[in-house]
Amino acid sequence: MAGFYVVVLLVLIAFFSPLIANRQPIVCKYRGNWYFPGMVDVVHHIPFMDRMVKKSPPFGMATFHAKRELSNQDFAIWPPIPYGPRDTSADTFEPPGREHLLGTDQNGRDLAARIVYGTIVSIQVGMVSMGIATLIGIFLGALAGYLGGWVDIVISRFIEIIQCFPTFFLILAVLAWLDPSIINVMVVIGLTSWTSIARYTRGEFIRLQSQEYVLASRALGCRPLRIMFRHLLPNAIAPVLVTVTFGVASAILAEAGLSWLGFGVQQPDPSWGNILRDAYDHLRSAPHLVYPPCVAIFLAVLSYNLVGDALRDAIDPRIAD
């Protein structure tokens, strides 16, 4: 269960990151008016919402410096880390201390803020790329398992081809083609990691095919697509979910690795991988940069692995010990 709680915590941190680390206050009263800049930032993280909700004038301007403008008389609730992930300052390589909880990097950016915002990338990569992989994997696996015959032969061969590429090689090769950006990384990881999901789905479908309820629904005149996705899929989904959970962990790993190599999230945007790269490039001058991203990646991977194991034990009590 601990793994599940950590996953939920990471999702919450990702969603509410502007309330945890932000250069603007969560709520404040400035020159007699109330403003909610931090809250607006949270809304902006939801896709397409940045066009619907705009920040009110002084806080919406890039030149507006909330910390300097707001005086002590103004009411303001500041986030625990009063820095944004991209805010540079003159204090480079500051060790952890009162001012900067985890210290600063080579550009004087607050490390804690960058780690918090890096959570967004990891959670997004895990969800989006595994979402893509699950859709492709279940669809192709279901087709191959249910229809059999030459469809099965073609799809199985295709799975084999994709599997023969070491995934990381394939991702690197495809990313040489696309611009390095978070969307492309998510799509490419999704497009290359569906094979084991497809194989499990295919296996489950073949196993379930001889069940009587399948025969019954066929006798009732159900169309193949309905049998596949309304009758078979709900019964086949459990073991597939285990693979998906482990897949999320490896997607997070792949993204961090790619960002470390410089193919993933680009500076100044933070991701655990490129924070780790900053740490590697400045090992001698700033050893304090090393541990936070390592701990973050480790926790994320460990918790998804724990959830996957718990799911597997719940589904197949025979293996549990």
Partner: protein
């Protein structure tokens, strides 16, 4: 058995063709061909344009992609990987052979250490399930398994190489290696190997010993184990002769699946440790759009994956006489 092997090899041919087709088109359609990358270095735009045209002609990039693919296939039929499209234009096979020793020595070493430790650990913890050894080793290995190798590598480099200054972490040899005595050179080499070998090994070790333990527990539920115990055989004989032998079958599959990694190496770890191996060669060739090298490495690694699964399936029949391919 022979007909099965032939059947599998024939089936592998379309798979390999598909792989080469996909890789060739992905890498060749990528924006920025090697000619463009090299012409960029010439500042004067008029000259750089001419250089670009000449380089394209020199590398044969001005011809249609389908024809280039067919020509590449023809050459690969004679195991000729061509010349690399970098300024040095060296033969791809030479380039790969140069990088092989670093990667192979590393993977054979780590594979050997991994299996040599994983089997005893797995047996010990499986035989005394939930005993103190099982609890301790399972917990440690589970945590190790969740630490990605490159995440482990950076703190290790920081502690061992920088703070304690014990071991080097850049490359395979020190810069002053020529001045060292022969023993000094060996010590130097060993020192360079320690950190990267550890990072390469522990993840696989954790996975493999969990695998051995799991399979041993599975076998313990079989009735022949009950029979063996009922006959009054010693626990040693039961575990090693009756139980462990039967866990060899899945172990062989695992070995087959790890086999391709022997030549593949790891891109991130090799870049991180500046290791002159295959993984870094692949990374560099992609950055330089060195099409022939990328193609050669993809084909070799895909072929190895196919070979690995085939060997694993064949080894099944050797290890387990019940399995027959007719």
């Amino acid at each position: 058995m022979l007909s099965y092997t032939l059947h599998r090899i024939i089936l592998a041919i379309p798979t390999l063709l598909g792989i080469t087709l996909v890789t060739f088109f992905i890498i060749n359609l990528a924006p920025g061909d090697p000619a463009a990358l090299q012409a960029q270095e010439v500042m004067d735009p008029r000259i750089s344009n001419r250089v670009y045209e000449q380089l394209r002609e020199y590398y044969g990039l001005d011809r249609p992609i389908v024809i280039r693919y067919l020509e590449w296939l023809k050459r690969i039929g004679t195991f000729d990987f061509g010349n690399s499209m970098t300024p040095d234009s060296r033969r791809v096979s030479v380039k790969i052979m140069e990088r092989l020793p670093a990667t192979i020595s590393l993977s054979v070493l780590s594979l050997g250490i991994g299996f040599a430790l994983a089997i005893p650990i797995g047996i010990l913890s499986g035989a005394r399930r939930n005993g103190w050894f099982d609890t301790v080793s399972s917990t440690i290995l589970y945590i190790l398994y969740a630490i990605p190798s490159y995440v482990m590598a950076i703190p290790l480099i920081l502690w061992v190489s920088i703070e304690l200054d014990l071991l080097p972490f850049q490359g395979m040899r020190s810069d002053n290696v020529a001045q060292l005595t022969p023993t000094g050179q060996i010590v130097d080499l060993v020192k360079h190997f320690i950190l990267i070998t550890f990072c390469f090994t522990y993840g696989a070790l954790a996975y493999q010993s969990r695998f051995v333990r799991q399979n041993l527990l599975e076998v313990f539920r079989q009735e022949y184990i009950l029979t063996a115990r009922a006959k009054g055989l010693s626990e040693f004989t039961v575990v090693l002769k009756h139980a462990f032998r039967n866990t060899l079958i899945p172990l062989v599959t695992l070995f087959g699946l790890t086999f391709p990694q022997i030549l593949g190496g790891s891109v991130i770890l090799e870049v991180m440790f500046n290791w002159p191996g295959i993984g870094r060669l692949f990374f560099e060739s992609i950055l330089q759009r060195d099409y022939p090298t990328v193609m050669a490495l993809s084909v070799i690694s895909a072929g190895l994956v196919l070979l690995g699964t085939l060997l694993a399936d064949l080894a099944y029949a050797v290890v387990d006489p019940r399995v027959r391919y007719d």
